[in-house]
Each structure stands twice: as structure tokens, then as C-alpha cells.
């Protein structure tokens, strides 16, 4: 079953074998995804007699996954509209993280700051990080991708990689090449609430507190507003959109802006959560978030969020059970599995052409 578009106007009823393989691929993927936590869940029941450990893994996974969801949305938005994997998106996330850290010292934020000042300061940082990331993304699109709109797929892909390297180097020059510890402003690991043994820390709640509103805002915007409609139209068929009087260039820039804003927010949350920043964090984050986007169905907003949450859980379980040096390998193995068995992802609709 090729990921290339099967023409939408298929008049014949699908053959039995096609129905079966569709069934297998969809539920097969779900089965593989569930198998992982289920296996460890059963192990927990045997070892501890309760599901606390896997529950904690999943709770951490969901909050981590919220961060990935934000980044994955950026990937999915861009891919949906111009069918380009924006390799530099991970670095946009990294620059957002760096910007937020850089602003803490001037704003006088440190672990001893009072709550109100802290909240206000972080809000300012959030907005600043979002704006920086957003504008950076728009700039990259103008400079790198727009001239190559008509070129074959390879050209913007390599350009994206080139920008990724340039931004990584900016990171190196900014804060050095090693990981850089960051003050733990919100005591992110401090337990805030404990439900049936599953402990939720401040960092977890922060992740949700920021992600949920942003995602809701985004879906409302894309779903309801005029510009959102323009985005969806361009994603569906740019030629027709142009004929309808939509300014495709502006719409694309807007998409990049939105993606960048979300990545910037994700950068701040990630910094608060991990208490360190690194120029290379964008690369790994980018690939993980891209896996999430593909898993949910690239081009599909709900898919990106779902994929992000799932990938977050897989990541946490792998970190905790197998060891965090193996987690990237595990996640990429999942990526390969998805690509082989169900390239359109869990929810995915057929994009114009999967390639």
C-alpha cells in the first residue's frame, strides 16, 4: 500500500484484501504501541503488586509528551502546507530555550524570587521566546525556502539541514558546546500532588498548563478564523487557493510563524523542566517530535498532539526501564516501524502526495 496518493475519487468498493490490510496496519500499529507499556505494566504487577511505577512513567511521559506535541505541531503545520520537512525546526526550539534562559538573568529571576514576580517574569520570557522563535522561523522561510519553491524536493531539504547547522553553531557560540546548567526556578521536581501513588511534580503541571491553552488556541485559530481557513485551503490545494484570491506567500509565512511560536514556548517549558540547555538538544528533539508528527499522521493537527503524547510515554518508559542511552534508538525503531506499516500514521488522512 503505497503512501503515494490513491486518487480520492475511487468509485469502486475497496476489495476485501485492502480492507484487511487497512485493518491490520491500523490496529497493528496500535497494538505495537500498547505492547510496550503493557509489557512493563505486567512486569510491575508481578514485581510490586501495583501499577505505580508504570503509572508514574506514563504521567511523566504525558507531560514530556506535551512538550513534544508543541514541537510536532510545528512540523505538521509546515509539512501540511508545503510538504517540506523543516529540519531546522528542532533548532528553532533550541533557540527558544536559549532565549528564555538568557532573559532570566536580566529580569532578575532566580530560585529565590517571589512567586508573583516569578510568574510575571516567566510570562515575559515566554512571550519573548515565542516571538524570537516565530520570527526566526519566518525569516528562514523567506531566505531559504521561498526561492526554492519550484525546485525538486532535495533542494529545500538540504537547505533546511544547512540552516540547522548554522543555528547549532549559533548555539555553540552563544553558550558554549557543552551542556549548560540552568537555575531551577520553579523547583520543577518538587511533588505537587500525589494521586494513588502517582506523583505529579510542578514541572509536569507546568507543561500541561502552558500546552493545553496553546493547543486550544491553535486549533480554534486554524479551525475558525479566516486566516486559518486560508491555511487549510492552501494545504489542500495551493493552486486553487491562489485562484480563490488567497495570498499563498503570506499564508505560508503565517504557518511558519505559528510553528515557531509553539516551538519557542516548548523551549521555555523544556528548560524549566530539565534545568539545562544544550546546543544539540534541538537535533534530538527535532527527530523525536518528527516521529511524533508522523505517528499521528503528518499534516494532521490532532494527530501531532496525539503522537507527541504517545512518544513522550514511550520515551519515559524507555528511559526508566531500558536506560536513557537507548531511548533514541527505541524511538527511531518506532519511526521505522510506522513508516513501514502505516506511513499515514494513526489518524492521518492522505496528503497530496506522500513524498
Amino acid at each position: 500500500m503505497e503512501a503515494a496518493g490513491i486518487p480520492a475519487g475511487q468509485a469502486l468498493k475497496p476489495r476485501r484484501s485492502e480492507v484487511v490490510s487497512e485493518f491490520i496496519s491500523k490496529y497493528g500499529l496500535i497494538a505495537i504501541l500498547i505492547a510496550f507499556p503493557a509489557y512493563y505494566g505486567i512486569q510491575d504487577l508481578i514485581d510490586d503488586g501495583n501499577l505505580t511505577r508504570i503509572g508514574n512513567n506514563l504521567a511523566d511521559g504525558l507531560s514530556n509528551g506535551a512538550i513534544w506535541a508543541l514541537v510536532a505541531l510545528g512540523y505538521t503545520l509546515v509539512y501540511g502546507i508545503i510538504e517540506l520537512i523543516n529540519f531546522a525546526h528542532g533548532e528553532i526550539f533550541m533557540i527558544g530555550a536559549f532565549t528564555s534562559f538568557a532573559l532570566w538573568a536580566p529580569l532578575g529571576l532566580n530560585p529565590d524570587t517571589g512567586t508573583v514576580a516569578l510568574v510575571l517574569g516567566l510570562l515575559v520570557t515566554l512571550i519573548a521566546a515565542m516571538l524570537v522563535s516565530g520570527s526566526l522561523n519566518v525569516m528562514i522561510e523567506r531566505v531559504g525556502y521561498r526561492p526554492l519553491r519550484g525546485a525538486p524536493k532535495l533542494a529545500p531539504l538540504i537547505t533546511a539541514v544547512g540552516f540547522s547547522f548554522i543555528l547549532q553553531n549559533v548555539g555553540i557560540l552563544w553558550l558554549g558546546a557543552s551542556q549548560r546548567g540552568v537555575p531551577d526556578l520553579i523547583e520543577s521536581q518538587k511533588e505537587l500532588v500525589n494521586i494513588v501513588g502517582i506523583s505529579l511534580s510542578r514541572g509536569d503541571l507546568l507543561a500541561f498548563a502552558v500546552t493545553v491553552p496553546l493547543v486550544l488556541l491553535l486549533t480554534t485559530f486554524v479551525g475558525q478564523s479566516r486566516l486559518g481557513k486560508a491555511m487549510r485551503a492552501t494545504a489542500q490545494d495551493p493552486e486553487a487557493a491562489k485562484l480563490m484570491g488567497i495570498n499563498v506567500d503570506t499564508t505560508i509565512s503565517l504557518t511558519f510563524l505559528l510553528g515557531g511560536l509553539l516551538a519557542g514556548a516548548a523551549g521555555l517549558i523544556n528548560t524549566l523542566y530539565q534545568t539545562n540547555v544544550w546546543y544539540f538538544q534541538g537535533f534530538t528533539a527535532g527527530l523525536i517530535a518528527f516521529t511524533a508528527a508522523v505517528m499521528g499522521g503528518i499534516g494532521n493537527l490532532r494527530g501531532a498532539v496525539l503522537g507527541g503524547l504517545i512518544i513522550g510515554c514511550i520515551q519515559q518508559i524507555s528511559d526508566n526501564r531500558i536506560g536513557n542511552e537507548w531511548t533514541p534508538a527505541v524511538i527511531f525503531a518506532y519511526l521505522v516501524l510506522i513508516m513501514v506499516f502505516r506511513p499515514q500514521g494513526l489518524i492521518g488522512e492522505e496528503t497530496r502526495e506522500a513524498g
Binding site: 532535495l154 538540504i158 537547505t159 557560540l173 542511552e325
Partner: protein, 390 residues
């Protein structure tokens, strides 16, 4: 002028320039001291030429975008690590297995095989690895092939980087993890003394030059063979190729396997040359480095890729650290008071080169003949993935 035109009419004219160049390249070590910094860079450049030619097979000929070429480099290096070092000290009761080696290497425990045997081994391992990597991509197109190969490159890289946790047959670790496997045996060809990279680089140079010649020959023959034409057909229009009877699966897998084999040969050579194998090098950036060479030279163009590889290798190893940083540019900047090192921005410079390359001349320095024909004579096609901009 007329002499040149006369020359051009001879039958052997197209071979004149390459022959002159090759002879020049072959003799040039005799004019340099045996331990020469410039020769060091040339050896590296030639090794990268082999890899770039391998990737050119996959991306240029067959049109399959492979972003995980570092996997084959990894396998090539690791075969040296396994079979030409004292990594497996416990083998044969601490006596070690020695086949075809002499000198210092023959005294150490561990597995020590002759370089030629290891090259054959590397070819086999990489070919199989290539086929396995290629399998999931058979039904995918374009971007998705890129992502799957990238994922494989990362999986294999991480597996070797954490290979000290995986043990086979109880005692034998897969790799030495983040630590290097060192020292690796020097190259020991039958009938010759073992090379010694601390005393004389010329044997290494001629060895890799010979490998380059063989690889070039294989490439030219492949390009004009049935398989080569099948690859090009595959690249231009997969559906049409299939309907003309080109066996898609076999053709695709063969392209990965062959391209990977070249990577393995070069990796094995570099393992001996560096005298150490370290899993830290298996990064995505390396795949992009080789891909950039192929694109810079011109996708599918054999001589173009050679030039692209040599150029980028020199930019990376010589231009940035030696000319810009330690040379007059760096000194001038330090005189002004700007205290920064060009090597710190080599990443960014490389990325910048990539961007400029794609925006200005995506078809490369020496585009393939077929493409040129398409462009000039207007033989366009609708849906080729890599058509050059007019």
C-alpha cells in the same frame, strides 16, 4: 587553438584529461616528504571520494535519497575494530587468531586478519546491511525514504555507541562503547611489509589511490551496464520502469548494497589509517557531509562527485583549521582583537555552504550529461524527483 581542436577529434581525446590528472595524482607523493600534512589531507580526501562515489550510486543513479550513509561508514570501521585489533583478547585462549599478519600485530592477542580479508568482510557486512536498510523503503517515496534511512543511521550509530552493553556469546562485547578501540593494526598487504603511518604516509596514499581507481572503474562499468541503466530508469520514472520490466525490488536493494559496500571499504581503510575506531564519530552530520559532496559535484555525475568530494574534504580539513584559523585570516582577526577560533564555527560555515549551494546551483559543479541534455534540448519530464532547475 587548432592543435586543441585536432586533439579533440582523436578517439582517445576524452580520456586525455582524466589520464593526465590520474598520473599526476599518482606520482605526486614522490615530490613530498614521507610525512606530510598535505598528503594526510589528500589521503582523507581520497577516502571520502570512495564514500561519495558509493552514495552517488544510491542517490545519484538510483534516485533514492539516503540520509543514513554513516551506517556504512560505521560498519566499515567496526569490521576493523573487530578483526584487526586486540579488542577480543579472550579469543583462542588469549593467543589470538592471526591470519596473514606480521610484525607488531602478530604479537598481540585478539583477532588479526589481513587487510584484504577484512575488506572483503566489510563489503559483505555492508552489502547485507544495505539490503536490510533498503527493505523498509521499498514502498516509500522521496522524503519518507530520507527519514527511514536517517533513522537507521541513528539506530546503528547509537547501537555501536552503547555497544559495550551488548554481549554476544557471553563475553564478546559488540563495541567498546564511547571509548575507542585502539590501536588498530596497520595495513599489511601480502608480499609487502606492514605500513607504518608514523613513519611514511606514501604506502597509505597509494593504497587508497588504488582503491579509488578500482571504485572508479566499477562505477563506470556499472553506469553503462544493464543494472546502471535500470537504476537511471528507476530514478526517472518508477512506474514506467516497472512496466518496462525492471525488477524494482532487486534493483533498489542492489543499489543500497553496492553503495554501502563502497562505504564499507572506505571505512575499513580509514580505521587502519586513524589507528583507532570510535563510535562517537557516527553522527548524522557525517551523512550530510558525504551527501553534500555528492550534491556539490552533481548528482549522478561520477567525475563531478570526485571533484565535489575533494573540494569539501579540503575545505573541512585544511581551509578552516589551517588556512583560515592558523593562517593569515586568523592572525589578522587576532590582531584586531577578535579572539575566536574558526574551528568553532566550522559547523556553521558548512551549513552556510550547503545553503548557498542549493540556492545558487542545485545541479552541482559538473552535472550529469543526461541532465544537461534534458535541460538544453528540452527533453523534460513531469515527475522526476530531482529535476534540476532550468
Amino acid at each position: 587553438m587548432s592543435t586543441i581542436q585536432d586533439l579533440r577529434r582523436r578517439r582517445w581525446a576524452p580520456y586525455l584529461l582524466p589520464a593526465v590528472v590520474l598520473v599526476g595524482v599518482a606520482v605526486f607523493p614522490l615530490f613530498r616528504p614521507p610525512l606530510d600534512g598535505f598528503m594526510d589531507d589528500c589521503i582523507l580526501a581520497l577516502a571520502y571520494v570512495v564514500m561519495a562515489l558509493g552514495l552517488n550510486l544510491v542517490v545519484g543513479f538510483a534516485g533514492l535519497l539516503d540520509l543514513g550513509y554513516v551506517a556504512f561508514y560505521a560498519f566499515g570501521l567496526m569490521t576493523m575494530g573487530w578483526w584487526a585489533s586486540d579488542f577480543y583478547t579472550g579469543v583462542n585462549g588469549e593467543e589470538g587468531i592471526h591470519i596473514g599478519v606480521s610484525g607488531f600485530a602478530a604479537t598481540l592477542p585478539g583477532i588479526h586478519l589481513s587487510f584484504l580479508i577484512i575488506v572483503v568482510g566489510a563489503i559483505l557486512v555492508c552489502a547485507v546491511a544495505g539490503a536490510i536498510i533498503g527493505l523498509p523503503t521499498l514502498r516509500l517515496r522521496g522524503d519518507y525514504i530520507a527519514i527511514v534511512t536517517l533513522a537507521f543511521g541513528e539506530i546503528i550509530g547509537r547501537t555501536f555507541a552503547n555497544g559495550d552493553e551488548i554481549t554476544i556469546f557471553n563475553d564478546y562485547k559488540l563495541s567498546n562503547g564511547r571509548q575507542s578501540i585502539s590501536p588498530i593494526d596497520q595495513i599489511d598487504l601480502p608480499l609487502l611489509d606492514p605500513f607504518d603511518s608514523a613513519l611514511n604516509l606514501r604506502p597509505y596514499y597509494w593504497c587508497i589511490f588504488a582503491i579509488v581507481l578500482v571504485v572508479l572503474f566499477v562505477n563506470f562499468r556499472l553506469r553503462d551496464s544493464k543494472l546502471g541503466r535500470a537504476w537511471i530508469a528507476l530514478r526517472e520514472d518508477e512506474v514506467a520502469a516497472a512496466s518496462m520490466g525492471v525488477p524494482l525490488v532487486k534493483t533498489k536493494l542492489l543499489s543500497y548494497a553496492t553503495g554501502g559496500a563502497f562505504g564499507g571499504i572506505s571505512g575499513a581503510f580509514l580505521g587502519a589509517y586513524f589507528s583507532s575506531v570510535n563510535a562517537n564519530q557516527f553522527q548524522f552530520g557525517f551523512s550530510i557531509f558525504i551527501l553534500a559532496m555528492v550534491i556539490l559535484g552533481g548528482l549522478g555525475s561520477i567525475w563531478g562527485v570526485v571533484i565535489g568530494a575533494v573540494l569539501l574534504a579540503f575545505v573541512n580539513n585544511r581551509l578552516i583549521p589551517d588556512v583560515l584559523d592558523q593562517g593569515f585570516v586568523g592572525d589578522k582577526l587576532r590582531d584586531i582583537g577578535l579572539n575566536f577560533s574558526f574551528t568553532e564555527i566550522s559547523f556553521g560555515v558548512f551549513g552556510f555552504i550547503l545553503v548557498i549551494m542549493m540556492v545558487l546551483r542545485p545541479e552541482g559543479i559538473l552535472p550529469e550529461r543526461r541532465r544537461q541534455m534534458e535541460l538544453t534540448e528540452g527533453i523534460g519530464d513531469t515527475e522526476s524527483v530531482f529535476e534540476a532547475r532550468g
